[in-house]
C-alpha cells in the first residue's frame, strides 16, 4: 500500500513539476530562449505571494489575482528591456544574461528576506484530504495543483492553436523576418510570450509556497525539475511536459520510498535514462 501511495502522491507532485515546465517550454517554443533564472522567478513569485498574503491578509489563492498580473508585467518589461537584446544566432548572451539574473534574484531575495525558510499558510486547505479507500488519501491541495496544471496546459494549448496570438507565436517561431513582414512586431510578441510564461510561473510559485517551505536558494532546483519534465516529455509538446512531470514525480517518490536520501537522485536518474534511451523525449513533436 505504501508503494501505491508513493505512486499516487508522485503523480500529483507531477502536476507541480508540469507547472514549472510549462513556462519554460512556452518561451523555448516561441523564441528558442532558455531562461536559466526560471526557477528563481518561481521563488520570486512565492515571496511576492508571501508579501501580499501577510500585508493584505489574503488567502494565497486569492493572492494570485495580484501576483499573476504583476509577474506577467515584469516578464513583458524584462523581455522588451533586456532579453530581446540578447536574442540572435549566438546562444551565449541569453544564457549568460539569464544566469546573471538568477544570481541577482537569489541574492536580492537574500538581502530582503534573509535565508530563513518561509511558507504560505492556506489554512484548512493544507491538511484537507479525500479518502480514496484502502487507506489511501489524496490531499486536496495536491489535487488542486494537478488540476491547475491540466487547466493551464489546456489553456496554453488553446492559445497556441486557436487564437490569433498563438498564430503569431508560431509564425514568429517559424520565421522572424517574414513574420515582421506580416506586421508582427517580434519584440512585442516575444514580450507577450514572456508575460504568459511569467504568469504561469506566478501560479507555480504560489502552489509551491503553499505546499512546502521555501527560501531564496531553492530556485535552481525548480528550474532543473521543470527542465527534466520538458526533456522527458519531449521538446515542444505541452501535454508531454505533464507526462514528464508525472514520471519525474513518481520516480522521486519511489526513490524516497526505498531510501529518503535517494528522492532527488531517483528523479535525476529517471531523466538520464530517458536521455540515454529516447534523447528526443518520450513524446517529441512530430514536425520539424
Amino acid at each position: 500500500m505504501d508503494w501505491v501511495n508513493a505512486v499516487l502522491q508522485g503523480v500529483l507532485l507531477g502536476g507541480l513539476y508540469a507547472l514549472f515546465a510549462a513556462g519554460l517550454s512556452l518561451i523555448f517554443g516561441v523564441m528558442r530562449l532558455v531562461n536559466i533564472a526560471h526557477g528563481d522567478f518561481i521563488v520570486l513569485a512565492a515571496f511576492l505571494g508571501l508579501v501580499v498574503t501577510t500585508t493584505l491578509g489574503m488567502h494565497p489563492l486569492a493572492a494570485l489575482a495580484i501576483v499573476v498580473p504583476f509577474m506577467a508585467l515584469l516578464g513583458y518589461v524584462l523581455q522588451r528591456c533586456i532579453l530581446n537584446q540578447t536574442l540572435g544566432n549566438d546562444i551565449l548572451p541569453p544564457l549568460l544574461v539569464t544566469f546573471g539574473l538568477s544570481v541577482i534574484i537569489q541574492n536580492g531575495l537574500l538581502e530582503i528576506f534573509t535565508a530563513n525558510p518561509q511558507k504560505l499558510s492556506a489554512g484548512a486547505l493544507e491538511t484537507a484530504s479525500i479518502p480514496l479507500g484502502g487507506g489511501l488519501n489524496a490531499g486536496v491541495l495536491p489535487i488542486l495543483t494537478f488540476a491547475a496544471a491540466v487547466a493551464i496546459i489546456a489553456f496554453l494549448q488553446w492559445i497556441f492553436y486557436r487564437t490569433s496570438l498563438g498564430r503569431a507565436f508560431r509564425a514568429v517561431s517559424d520565421n522572424q523576418d517574414i513574420a515582421q513582414l506580416m506586421g508582427l512586431n517580434k519584440s512585442h510578441i516575444f514580450g507577450l510570450a514572456m508575460a504568459l510564461s511569467m504568469a504561469v510561473i506566478a501560479i507555480a510559485g504560489i502552489f509551491l509556497a503553499v505546499r512546502t517551505s521555501f527560501d531564496p536558494s531553492v530556485g535552481p532546483a525548480r528550474l532543473i525539475f521543470g527542465f527534466e519534465a520538458v526533456i522527458i516529455g519531449g521538446l515542444g509538446n505541452l501535454w508531454g511536459t505533464l507526462i514528464g512531470g508525472i514520471i519525474l514525480g513518481v520516480s522521486q517518490n519511489i526513490g524516497a520510498q526505498i531510501n529518503p536520501g535517494w528522492q532527488l537522485l531517483a528523479g535525476h536518474i529517471a531523466f538520464l535514462i530517458v536521455l540515454a534511451v529516447r534523447p528526443r523525449g518520450l513524446f517529441p513533436r512530430v514536425d520539424g
Binding site: 533586456i82 546573471g100 538581502e111 532527488l264 536518474i269 538520464l272
Partner: protein, 340 residues
C-alpha cells in the same frame, strides 16, 4: 612565386615576444613569493591561481568549443572528493594523487559527455547542471566521507605533505601556481595546434567547418574530456587548501561556476587573456566589496549583464580592439619577410 617567399606566416608578434619576457620575469617573482609575501597574501595568491585555472578552462569550453556548461562544479567537487578518498583510504600522498585525479576526472566525463552531448545549446547547459546535482547527491550518500555533512583531512595526512605549517603552505602555493600555468599552457598550445584551428573554425561557422571535414562531435568531446580532467585536478588542489570538504561546498554552483562565468564574461570571453584579466578584477572587487555580503554577488551579476549587453567581448576585447594587442596570439598572420 615570389609572393610566397616574401611573406611568412607567424603567430607571434613583437608584443607577444615582449610579453613572454615580462611573463618570465613575473613568473620568477611569483615563484619566489613564499620569501617575500605574508602568509595571508600567499593564501590569497593561491586562490587567485586556482580561479585563473578554472576561468581558463571554462573559457576553453564555452568561449572556444561553444559548450556552455553551468555544471563544472561537478568536476571541481569530484576532484576534491577523489583527493580525500585516495589520501584517506589508499594512503596515497596528497600531492601524488593529482595526476591520478586528472585521469579519473577525464574518465568519468566520458559517459557524462556521451549522455549530455545529446542536448543542444542552452539545454546542454542545464543538463550539465543536472549532472553536477547527481554528483552532489551521490557524494552525500558516501558515509565513509561524512555523507551530507562532509569531512576533514586527518592530521597525519596533513603532516605527510610537509613537517611544518609554512612548508605545507608553500607546497600548496607552488602547486596552485603550477597547475594554473599548466592549464594556461595546455589551452594555449591546444588552440595553436591543428585541432585548435579546427575548434575556432567550428566556433565561427559550424556548418562550414563540417563541410571542411572537421568532426565536430569528436573535437568537442575531446575538449570536454580534457577540460573535465584538468578541472578535477584544480578541484583537488582547491580542497587541499581548504582541508575540509562537504557536498554543498564541493559542488557549489556559485563558487565554482557563477564566479567563474562572471570572471570570464567581464574579462573577455574567447580570449586567453580575458580570464586572467577577469580574475584580477574579480579579486580586486572582492577585496574591496567583501563586506557587502550577498549584495556583492548582486553587483557582480549586474556588472556581468551590462558587460554582456554593452561590451560582449569584455575588458580584454575592449583593449584588443583599441590597441590590437594580443599577448597570447592564437591567430596566424601573414607578414612581409624581414631582411634580418
Amino acid at each position: 612565386m615570389s609572393a610566397a617567399t616574401d611573406h611568412i606566416i607567424v603567430q607571434s608578434s613583437r608584443a607577444s615576444r615582449a610579453a613572454s619576457i615580462v611573463a618570465l620575469l613575473l613568473l620568477a617573482i611569483l615563484v619566489a613569493a613564499p620569501w617575500w609575501a605574508g602568509r595571508a597574501d600567499l593564501r590569497l595568491f593561491g586562490e587567485i591561481y586556482l580561479y585563473v585555472a578554472l576561468a581558463c578552462l571554462w573559457n576553453f569550453l564555452a568561449g572556444y568549443a561553444g559548450l556552455v556548461s553551468v555544471g563544472q562544479q561537478a568536476f571541481v567537487g569530484f576532484g576534491g572528493y577523489c583527493l580525500f578518498g585516495m589520501a584517506m583510504f589508499l594512503g596515497i600522498h596528497p600531492m601524488a594523487t593529482i595526476p591520478f585525479i586528472f585521469v579519473l576526472g577525464a574518465l568519468i566525463s566520458v559517459p557524462v559527455a556521451v549522455l549530455i552531448f545529446r542536448l543542444r545549446g542552452a539545454y546542454f547547459a542545464i543538463g550539465t547542471w543536472v549532472i553536477a546535482e547527481v554528483f552532489r547527491l551521490t557524494a552525500a550518500q558516501i558515509s565513509a566521507l561524512g555523507g551530507g555533512s562532509g569531512t576533514s583531512i586527518p592530521v597525519d595526512i596533513i603532516r605527510s605533505i610537509a613537517a611544518s605549517r609554512s612548508g605545507r603552505e608553500h607546497a600548496a602555493y607552488w602547486a596552485a601556481l603550477a597547475v594554473a600555468i599548466l592549464v594556461i599552457a595546455c589551452v594555449y598550445l591546444f588552440l595553436r595546434s591543428r585541432q585548435g584551428l579546427a575548434l575556432q573554425a567550428i566556433r565561427d561557422n559550424e556548418t562550414a567547418a563540417q563541410a571542411m571535414g572537421i568532426d565536430i562531435w569528436r573535437t568537442k568531446f575531446f575538449v570536454y574530456v580534457v577540460t573535465a580532467g584538468l578541472t578535477s585536478a584544480v578541484g583537488a588542489l582547491i580542497f587541499l587548501q581548504k582541508l575540509r570538504i562537504s557536498p554543498d561546498a564541493a559542488f557549489s554552483v556559485n563558487d565554482w561556476t557563477a564566479f567563474v562565468i562572471f570572471i570570464v564574461v567581464i574579462g573577455g570571453i574567447g580570449t586567453i587573456e580575458g580570464p586572467i584579466v577577469g580574475t584580477i578584477v574579480f579579486f580586486l572587487l572582492r577585496e574591496t566589496l567583501a563586506d557587502l555580503g550577498s549584495a556583492y554577488l548582486l553587483i557582480l551579476g549586474v556588472v556581468a549583464i551590462v558587460v554582456m549587453l554593452r561590451a560582449p567581448s569584455g575588458l580584454w576585447g575592449f583593449v584588443k580592439s583599441r590597441t590590437g594587442l594580443e599577448l597570447f596570439p592564437t591567430t596566424r598572420r601573414v607578414v612581409p619577410k624581414h631582411k634580418d
